[in-house]
Amino acid sequence: MSVKKVYDKQPDTFEFTKENLVLAENILNKYPKERKKSAVMPLLYLAQNQNDNWIPLAALKYIGKFLSMPYINVYEIATFYSMYNLSPVGKYFVQVCTTTPCLLRGANEIVKACQKKISKNENTISENGMCSWTEVECLGACVNAPMMQVNRDYYEDLSKNNIEKILDSFMQDDPIKPGSFRNRKSSAPENNKINGNGINNA
């Protein structure tokens, strides 16, 4: 990972849509007036949702003005958190976990598949414009390692046998159902095995 690159083709302006403006006001109401800066993270997320899953510079400035905080502080936050994208991503944004547990369970194979199916380098949109992928740190689903997050869904218990099929489904704009790919229910033991507390998988 390195510092996120800011996209070179930036839109000139950014404004919240009417609906998002209402949402933004609701978010602001959650914080005391003198601490409205606290709303910066939800607002950045709102802007990212509005703008095809990435935040343009104009939006950073817009939010800075919206919350009367210096631009550089908004910029710091947007670059610090890996879930804010500062350049366009594919319609299906694949985030592969490569932290220790996933790596031990074969996340490398997932990365290789992404390189093969989507694009050679991370953060590059595939030729048909459908997908882009990136390596991320732990997404908190270690028990189902290896896993990846695509937009808002988790795809878990992956292996080199099924990953290509999954990625193909995104590339064809027909996403496969998320969840465990070894037929586990959430993170419960496989094949109805009894868990440590002696309770049956339910």
Binding site: M1, S2, V3, K4, L57, P70, Y71, I72, N73, Y75, E76, T79, F80
Partner: protein, 682 residues
């Protein structure tokens, strides 16, 4: 007082101190990168680790509050090992480019790695590379060297008041930058260069100029504004290579403004090194004798009341005193130091100085600005106001619109009518003022230029005295003058005391036959038939229209004393010698007197200085505030005119002849106007 044991030595410390400060008290030196006394605590470099009893791990002493009975060890093997570990991590990604790094010789990392660094690197991986950032014409960045202490970020946010530097990214990929690599819009920006403990932020104009151990260092004071910041001038041979701040808690703490620091390259350019005379419309070099003869004969043949003297903005008191005695000897009545006509009253020293003192600003609980923009007129004073504002959120009120001052203030009106209301206790501001214990009212030169200037100055003084805001402990009445020579010139009486502005009227109507400008370049003046003698160091505005030019040294090239806006007398020391055949100002006056076959008033410099000091009102001693004289205050009444209060914008980077000759200053000016154009879209 609570007690702490440092290396088996028990000492007392003040409540609120950190372990690091307590260790310093005990005489144990703690290495550090991120910690700085004047900035908030970050605790992210981990270099200041010490051992604390009952703690299994070493603690970061800069961020740990000291408490009663703590037992600290700073010299154990464990501490040394921990610090060595930290140092190894810091050096892991730090390039080994000390031989080409400008920080070399005054680098904290270099110094500390001498004690805590390993001789070899165990880091086999690739070093990271960080792109250099643009931070304006003053700051050169080599960001690979950055160790992320965030001192620059904290300085910009806390002291300078411009949140423009930040740390983007995270972890190993953290980078320090300004938003979209814009230049930093602050008059204090270059202080981050001093703060940077490594060579990541270095001085752009000074890049590869000299090594610190080659420079001759002279402690002196600054003359770019009336604050009198304490500086150190570093010279290499004749050249002034750089100007650095010197610690003075009373005045500039340890910061200086960008103009103070970087106008020094103007000392090398546009210099007048020989006498010149004008022949057939062209200035040509001549000998001193020739020039003195012309000056002497011109003075002889011109009627006394048609000769005018004007003293410039950066003259030492000795120069002004010798000039005044020179004028006296020739019985010439017209002399002036003001650059524009503004009201002055020198009956009492209190009437023209900053009585609350710069350090006093920190105690204040309310500040009222009248027709002044302290950010540009006295940058270091503005930094103090910001410090008080940040610490206590005191109300700051301005009459007139000074623009962005780096802190929040309320505008209480832009006309003299509003001040009248204040004096009659009719508006909100007067309530705030009367409810505060230590208010500060600052009257700027823009307000003194108004027709109701006398009304404002005397009215405010009376108002404050009547409400017991001028008392033995506190004086809320302040005048902010802009030039280094101003207070000194007033003390020496080098102006028309009746405020009739005869000098300016005569100047405007071209009634003078002979004008003698000493270091004076800021006067608004259109030449017609006058014979102009310019004596100074730089070929600036007045030298261009002069008929005779006499070279004299700049402020770094002669000894002198200056009084700052608080009335504090300070010594300025000669740090280098002037170019060519320049002669000190007082010697030139003596030479002219000799030429006119008159007696010299001052035989030597010691005599001149003694005489000058004896003329200072309320003089106490060097570096001290003047005596207070609040008992016998006189109040006069002035006429009131209802008029708008404008805060006259000064061309900050071009405010004097040295700054105008400086390439760095013109770069700064260009960068600033470019940024302004971008914002306004023009």
């Amino acid at each position: 007082m609570p007690k702490i044991t440092v290396n088996n030595k028990e000492i007392e410390f003040e409540n609120g101190m950190t372990v690091l400060q307590a260790c310093e008290l005990a005489g144990a030196e703690i290495p550090r990168f991120c910690y700085h006394e004047r900035l908030s605590i970050a605790g992210n470099c981990r270099m200041c680790l010490v051992e604390m009893e009952k703690s299994s791990k070493p603690i970061a002493s800069c961020a740990m509050p000291a408490t009663e009975g703590m037992k600290i060890k700073t010299n154990t093997e464990k501490v040394e090992k921990a610090r060595k570990g930290v140092m190894e991590f810091l050096l892991a990604n730090h390039p080994l480019d000390c031989p080409v790094c400008d920080q070399g010789g005054e680098c904290d990392l270099q110094d500390q790695s001498l004690y805590y660094g390993f001789d070899k690197s165990r880091f086999k991986e690739n070093k990271r590379k960080v792109k250099d950032k643009y931070m304006g014409p003053l700051i050169k960045t080599i960001m690979t060297r950055c160790i992320h202490c965030t001192r620059c970020v904290r300085f910009a946010t806390e002291v300078a008041g411009v949140t423009e530097i930040g740390a983007i990214g995270r972890g190993e990929n953290m980078e320090i930058t300004t938003f979209l690599e814009k230049s930093m819009e602050s008059e204090l920006s270059a202080n981050v260069i001093d703060l940077c403990p490594v060579g990541a932020l270095t001085s752009k104009p000074y890049a590869f100029e000299a090594r610190p151990w080659e420079l001759k260092k002279t402690e002196t004071i600054d003359v770019m504004d009336a604050v009198g910041s304490n500086i150190r001038v570093d010279t290499y041979g004749w050249e002034v290579k750089r100007v650095l701040p010197r610690l003075n808690e009373e005045i500039n703490e340890e910061w200086i403004s960008d103009k103070t620091r970087y106008a020094c390259d103007g000392l090398l350019k546009q210099r007048i090194d020989k006498p010149f005379k004008r022949e057939n419309g062209k200035l040509i070099e001549c000998s001193w004798d020739e020039a003195l003869n012309i000056v002497g004969s011109k003075i002889k043949e011109t009627a006394k009341n048609q000769i005018g003297f004007h003293a410039g903005d950066m003259l030492s008191m000795e120069t002004i005193n010798s000039l005044k005695e020179f004028a006296k000897k020739l019985s010439i009545p017209n002399y002036e130091f003001r650059e524009k006509p503004f009201y002055l009253n020198s009956d009492n020293k209190m009437n023209y100085i900053f009585n609350s003192s710069i350090k006093g600003i920190e105690e204040s609980d309310c500040i009222v600005l009248i027709g002044t923009n302290p950010r540009h007129e006295a940058t270091m004073l503005n930094a103090r106001i910001r410090k008080a504002f940040v610490a206590k959120k005191i109300p700051i009120i301005s009459f007139g619109d000074p623009g962005d001052l780096t802190y929040d203030y309320t505008n209480a009106g832009n006309s003299t009518e509003d001040i009248k209301k204040l004096l009659n206790k009719e508006n909100e501001t007067s309530k705030i003022l009367l409810n505060s214990k230590k208010p500060i009212i600052i009257i700027g030169e823009s307000a003194l230029e108004l027709e109701s200037a006398k009304f404002i100055l005397q009215g405010i003084k009376k108002f404050l005295k009547e409400n017991n805001l001028i008392n033995d402990n506190w004086n809320a009445f302040n005048v902010l003058l802009q030039n280094a020579s101003s207070v000194g010139a007033i003390d020496l009486g080098f102006f028309e005391k009746d405020n009739s502005f005869n000098f300016f009227n005569k100047l405007k109507n071209n009634e003078f036959k002979l004008l003698y400008f000493v270091g004076s370049d800021n006067l608004d003046f259109i030449k017609s038939n006058e014979f102009i003698i310019y004596q100074g160091s730089h070929g600036d505005r007045m030298a261009q229209i002069a008929d005779v030019i006499l070279p004299s040294p700049a402020y770094t090239e002669q000894n002198g004393i200056f009084i700052n806006l608080e009335g504090r007398l300070q010594k300025s020391n000669k740090s280098t010698y002037p170019p060519g055949s320049s002669k000190e100002d007082w010697k030139i006056f003596n030479l002219i007197l000799n030429n006119l076959q008159e007696d010299e008033k001052f035989k030597n410099f010691v005599e001149l200085r003694t005489d000058t000091i004896s003329k200072i009102q309320n003089h106490t001693d060097f570096d001290l505030l003047p005596k207070k004289t609040i008992q016998d205050l006189k109040f006069e009444s002035g006429s009131f005119t209802n008029e708008p209060i404008y805060v006259k914008e000064i061309d900050y980077y071009f405010s004097n002849s040295i700054a105008r000759s400086s390439k760095t200053m013109s770069d700064c000016r260009a960068a600033r106007s470019k940024k302004l154009n971008k914002i306004t879209g023009s």
